[in-house]
């Protein structure tokens, strides 16, 4: 119904070209148009972090970003992080530290944690807690998530594959 616009961008390292309504959010495009369902809807208002993606290396709540604003950008979703050996230690750390319960917040947490660690591979506990402040989790009480990220930071952040 609404006006369509064609955009080109790099999604998880692959060039994509899609037509999207100008009113569509990046979250809806990822989930409903491109069928990448790892990015979650938790609130649609930029308040929970479940929809976190990276756009040109910055973490963004995709539910409050227009899809058309992905045009010309580098977009990374949880699917991209999951396929990236660089972040395997982070994912494993979350698993091993018990940072995953229902798991609904987890993709957003992983993307956000990767962002925190990219900026500061040796981030300390306080910085990590602050970095995850925008990501809500109802199950874990955060401690094990923070522990998991701290463990990766202690090991030097990015561990080469």
């Amino acid at each position: 119904m609404s006006l369509l616009r064609e955009i080109r961008f790099t999604l998880n390292g692959v060039a994509r070209q899609v037509s999207v309504p100008v009113t569509m959010t990046a979250l809806a495009m990822l989930r409903d148009v491109l069928h990448l369902t790892g990015t979650k809807y938790g609130c649609g208002e930029g308040e929970c972090g479940a929809c976190t993606i990276l756009v040109d290396g910055r973490s963004v709540n995709s539910c409050v970003m227009f899809a058309v604003d992905c045009d010309g950008r580098q977009v990374t979703t949880i699917e991209g992080i999951a396929a990236d050996a660089q972040w395997q230690p982070l994912r494993e750390s979350l698993v091993e530290h018990g940072g995953v319960q229902c798991g609904f917040c987890t993709p957003g947490m992983v993307v956000q944690a990767s962002h925190v660690l990219s900026r500061d591979p040796h981030a300390d506990r306080q910085a990590i807690k602050r970095g995850l402040e925008g990501n809500l989790c109802r199950c874990t009480g955060y401690k094990k998530i923070v522990d998991a990220v701290v463990a990766v930071a202690d090991a030097g952040g990015k561990v080469a594959p």
């Binding site: 989930r31 109802r138 199950c139 401690k143």
Partner: protein
């Protein structure tokens, strides 16, 4: 060559990562929101825009004419609908009257959620307002609007429990205290919003993709509601984005989605927005609670009189029944010879409450544990000593009939107090109150009792298991128990490994399809580890016996001389490897008496239904905990900052250390939210903050340091000695925070939550 020996390896008590965590951490897990069926339509619900009104007309013509709309329904289109809920006091689609803002009036199925939403805007409803009733204290006043014809006094439910004679108890008391406590609305805030997908086959069979916590009970209820045979309903439970009790009742969106699927002949998916989740999913039960308690000079408790007013909201869900649990805390957490408990749940036009982790116990504990501190002060005892003097001990049977076969309460109290240095700090902080400076430190203690071995609420509290051994020694555990993120699948797999000596990755757990899984009463009452665990152990033991008997024949040893370790059959005495388990199973598999599918069940745990007076040993085991909170209060701003929580939990036995810590940490932080930040503001029946901006969940930087100890009482009936723990950790927090604020400031606050404004006002009120 010396023989190979194999050591016994136990997974019990170890830190075992959740089996489904790798998939979740890579975003591959498909939640209900992520499932789309071919040909699927999307549904949206039109809700009332009036608090209390008669529906004069509904015109759906324009909505139905919108391109892409397949179907619009109102109550008139589904004459077959039946009342739902605990009191069966609401229809999924309301007929001629709405009683709250969330009331469902019409629903649309369309090609996309956007079209469905647009169609809702085209439905024209005319109302005639009726006088509202939003204050539960006024529900029984003469002339109050009557919400349901069946309840001319607006009383939805009452609960009465008594033991002893409170008048006698009062006469024996040297000290009596009485307070009114007021407990607010909070809501589950599962990160995954509610959703359901319904699909009918041409045969009339219905498949529901649902996040229900009670699939087998709901199968029956849906069947009644639809007038079809329960055998025709299959419930598939995709991974759930959080439960916490929110999915224990049928709520109108589910039958509505089913009606739409039936009408359209297409799969229909209905998923809430976050705003809708706030407005139209259940809350925790708000309670106004008056408690009168007494003690003798020597510190013995004498009596408790409890009167609670539950705001039932417009309809009745599980929230109204929380007295089941509340009265246990009043009657049985401590030894109280005389107890008189009464609850009245009254209808209003407000939101209605469901079950929520802790089920009334947060509210009851908030009151009881504050009175324990108050009485201790009057008696002149340290609050810890006062509690120890009145605490339950192993072997006691309370006047309400609860039998505490294992009970680590006193250990919980002493361990939490010692590890937090409670007694010294309490005195020190009290002394520091008068010193200059606006930031005051405080420490507070609270304890709880909760069911830990199931709860006999339904006709059965059982769970079935099917265990399948394949010819490569891979085990499939098919359990009735649902997984809601708490890690039940991992614990059940561990219990199976323990019996069969197979590695964890040799076990697959199937737990999400009522066409496959055996019956279970559902995930609630912290029952899954205990009940489903015992059921799984039963099946695994049968399998073990079968394998060892077969192995005995081959090895010429007695079955008793054999053991299963690390995927092998070994001689018990020295661990000598006799043969790989896979080899044994392969040969069994292709023999004529193989029967490598084993069924078992745990019907019934040794617990009792309560009688009409609510007396009876309702659980096979009971969980205990003490939590000590340390905090700072800024008296200039009213801001409370949690520093540390020291928790000691009687969990029977730790099965999965990682999982149980996760349950306790998550519960503590949920309790922190209840105490300090979360507040669903309901004003004149309207929810004012249906979003995470204004409804404040605790965030990562705000969590306290957590020191968790386990008291392992090895419950005789528990699976490997374990007891349930899911709800326990959320229960004490608000009470402990209240006591800590009192320790810091000398001011006791009896209403939640402790927002800066409330604390600030309470402090000023004392100064005035």
């Amino acid at each position: 060559m010396s023989p190979v020996t194999v050591a016994r390896q136990s997974l019990i008590g170890r830190r075992i990562p959740k089996l489904d965590a790798p998939e979740k951490a890579s975003g591959q897990t498909r939640y209900i929101q992520d499932i789309d069926l071919p040909g699927q339509l999307h549904a949206k619900i039109l809700r009332s825009s009036r608090l209390h009104a008669r529906i004069l007309s509904i015109d759906t013509a324009k909505a139905a004419a919108l391109p892409g709309v397949h179907c619009v329904i109102t109550a008139a289109d589904v004459p077959e609908q039946r009342p739902i809920g605990v009191n069966k006091d609401q229809l999924p689609l309301k007929t001629d009257r709405v009683r709250s803002y969330r009331d469902e009036i019409a629903a649309v199925a369309a090609e996309s959620p956007e079209i469905a939403e647009a169609a809702l805007g085209l439905i024209e409803v005319t109302y005639e307002d009726l006088p509202p009733l939003v204050d539960p204290r006024l529900s029984k006043q003469p002339g109050a609007p009557i919400l349901h014809d069946r309840a001319a006094d607006n009383v939805a439910m009452t609960f009465t429990y008594q033991n002893g004679d409170v008048a006698e108890g009062e006469a024996e008391s040297d000290f009596v205290v009485e307070d009114e406590f007021s407990l607010h609305y909070v809501t589950h805030c599962c990160m995954g919003v509610s959703g359901v997908i319904a699909e009918f086959e041409p045969s009339g069979n219905l498949t529901l993709y649902s996040n229900t916590q009670v699939p087998f009970l709901h199968k029956r209820e849906f069947a009644e509601l639809l007038g079809i045979d329960p055998g025709r309903i299959r419930i598939i439970q995709p991974p759930i984005g959080g439960g916490f009790g929110s999915k224990l009742d049928i709520y109108p969106f589910e039958p509505i989605c089913i009606f739409l699927a039936k009408k359209t002949g297409r799969p229909v998916k209905l998923v809430f927005s976050r705003e809708e989740e706030f407005l139209a999913s259940p809350t925790r039960q708000p309670v106004i609670l008056r408690l009168r308690s007494g003690a003798r000079k020597d510190g013995t408790l004498t009596f408790r009189t409890v009167r609670t007013l539950h705001d039932n909201g417009a309809y009745t869900s599980w929230g109204a029944t929380t007295p089941f649990v509340m009265m246990q805390t009043f009657s049985s957490l401590y030894r109280v010879p005389h107890c008189d408990y009464f609850t009245e749940a009254v209808y209003t036009n407000n939101p209605y409450a469901g079950s929520f982790r802790g089920y009334g116990n947060l509210q009851a504990t908030f009151a009881v544990e504050q009175h324990m501190d108050k009485l201790a002060a009057l008696v002149g005892m340290d609050p810890l000593d006062f509690r120890l003097k009145n605490a339950q001990e192993p072997g006691e049977v309370t006047p309400q009939g609860m039998h505490f076969k294992s009970c680590g309460f006193k250990d919980c109290l002493t361990i939490a107090a010692r590890r937090s240095d409670y007694a010294d700090k309490r005195r020190q902080y009290e002394a520091e109150r008068r010193q200059p400076g606006t930031v005051k430190r405080g420490i507070g203690i609270a304890s709880m009792l909760h069911v830990g071995g199931g709860a006999k609420i339904y006709p059965s509290d059982g769970c079935g298991t099917i265990l399948k051994l394949d010819d490569f020694a891979h085990v499939t555990l098919i359990t009735g128990a649902s997984e809601i993120g708490q890690g039940s699948e991992t614990v059940l797999a561990q219990l199976v490994c323990e019996e069969l000596g197979v590695p964890l990755d040799a076990v697959t757990v199937v737990n999400n399809d009522t066409d496959i899984t055996p019956w279970d009463v559902g995930v609630h009452a912290s029952r899954t580890t205990f009940i489903a665990g015992n059921s799984a152990i039963g099946a695994a033991r049968k399998a073990r016996e079968k394998i060892l008997l077969a192995a005995a024949k081959v090895t010429n040893l007695a079955a008793e001389q054999l053991d299963l370790r690390q995927g092998a059959i070994v001689r018990s005495e020295d661990g000598q490897l006799l043969m790989p388990l896979a080899k044994m199973l392969r040969s069994l598999h292709f023999s004529d008496k193989a029967e490598l599918v084993i069924t078992s069940h745990y019907y019934e745990p040794p617990s009792q239904h309560q009688d009409k007076e609510f007396k009876g040993d309702v659980s096979a085991a009971y969980a205990w905990a003490t939590q000590v909170v340390e905090l700072e209060v800024d008296t200039a701003t009213g801001i409370v900052r949690l520093d540390k929580v020291t928790a000691a939990h009687d969990v029977g036995r730790v099965l999965n250390r990682l999982g149980i810590e996760g349950q306790i940490e998550g519960g503590i932080v949920m309790g922190q939210g209840y105490a300090l930040t979360e507040d669903l503001l309901v004003e004149e029946g309207v929810c004012r903050n249906p979003n995470f901006r204004d409804y404040k969940l605790v965030t990562a930087p705000e969590i306290p340091e957590m020191d968790i100890s386990f008291v392992e009482t090895q419950d005789g009936e528990g699976p490997q000695g374990a007891k349930g723990v899911g709800e326990a950790p959320a229960i004490c927090m608000a009470a402990a925070v209240a006591n800590a604020i009192e320790n810091a400031t000398g001011v006791r606050i009896t209403s939640l939550p402790f927002t800066p404004e409330r604390v600030y006002r309470a402090l000023r009120a004392i100064e005035d």
